[in-house]
Amino acid sequence: MVTVEVSTEKNGVVGVLAGKLNDIIEWGIAEPARYLINWGRIYALWPVHVETACCSVEFGAVHGPRFDIERFGILEAFGSLRQCDLLIVFGTVTRKMAPRLKMVYEQMPEPKYVIAMGACSINGGLYFDSYNVLPGIEEIMPVDVYVPGCPPRPEAVIQAIMLLQDKIRKSKVR
């Protein structure tokens, strides 16, 4: 968020001082700001409502009272994708769905995260030899967390969310 570019190429006292100043700003402003922004992102992951296959059943269960993913700040099926930042790919992506899914991904605002849920979205899973199924979604979008299972249990989905939170916590802020 806050980046101050102070040239450190100069030699001598000026260069050293500028480098120190940079370090202090990094230590005192940039780093707490990064933590704060990331903390906000961690607990406000709003998922896009795009269902690609049958794993959405288990994602419905994750929203339910027993697993209640809203504890992590994840809203249930949210309206417009313009306000979302988490794309969970629920299983099989077919050749008809792939362009649409890519379009959905492109329409989301940065920063956006992708969870590939289910074996089918990882490498085709049970449908490895099908004529209409993509062998995994990484060829159309970058993936942050993979959740294996067919379908994954809700606990696995929650673990994936926690892994994603860990990843965001350590990531740089753009």
């Binding site: 050749r95 085709g124 030899d129 004529y131 209409n132």
Partner: protein, 172 residues
């Protein structure tokens, strides 16, 4: 049919009484436009020529078979033929609800032309989407179906229809 002991011959004779009556009814109306393949409890399998299928199905509809359960197309490369089976159930008449009449027909394959068969859309509206699917999956053209469009395959599919036996799965 669901008794735990295997049914004896006498039981079978009794349980297919209704089915035999139905076949008699159809025979009276259609003479020899269809051949009876088999009668099992609840299943009547008739084989018709592609030209007679509309006529046979109209008669079947007139004796209360009013809903198409499925339209199954199968590729038989060994016979160089396609088989299309209409599974027609009876819904409105509770007497015949346990019976399904299977109207099956065979179309010859040819190298040049697409296989064509008369659509039964005008007899049973319920076969509309099943015919669309069969058209898409096997390339059989149903003449008379109002909208034979692509339903399941992607828009840019330009391979041969996937359920034909000479289509080999890319993953295999």
């Amino acid at each position: 049919m669901s008794t735990p002991t295997p049914p004896s011959n006498v039981n079978v004779e009794v349980s297919i009484k209704k089915e035999k009556q139905l076949v008699e009814k159809m025979k009276n109306k259609l003479k020899n436009k269809f051949t009876l393949d088999s009668i099992k409890p609840g299943r009547i399998n008739v084989i018709v020529l592609p030209n007679n299928i509309v006529e046979v199905s109209k008669v079947a509809k007139s004796i209360c078979f009013d809903q198409v359960s499925s339209v199954a197309g199968t590729d038989f490369p060994s016979d160089n033929e396609f088989e299309v089976v209409y599974h027609v159930a009876c819904v409105s008449n509770s007497r015949y609800r346990n019976i399904i009449i299977e109207i099956s027909t065979r179309i010859k394959k040819s190298e040049t032309a697409k296989p064509v068969i008369n659509s039964l859309y005008n007899v049973w509206r319920s076969c509309d989407w099943h015919e669309k699917e069969t058209h898409e999956m096997l390339g059989i053209v149903f003449k008379g179906n109002p909208e034979l469009r692509r339903v399941l395959l992607p828009e840019d599919w330009n391979d041969i229809p996937p359920l034909r036996k000479d289509y080999i799965l890319p993953g295999r």
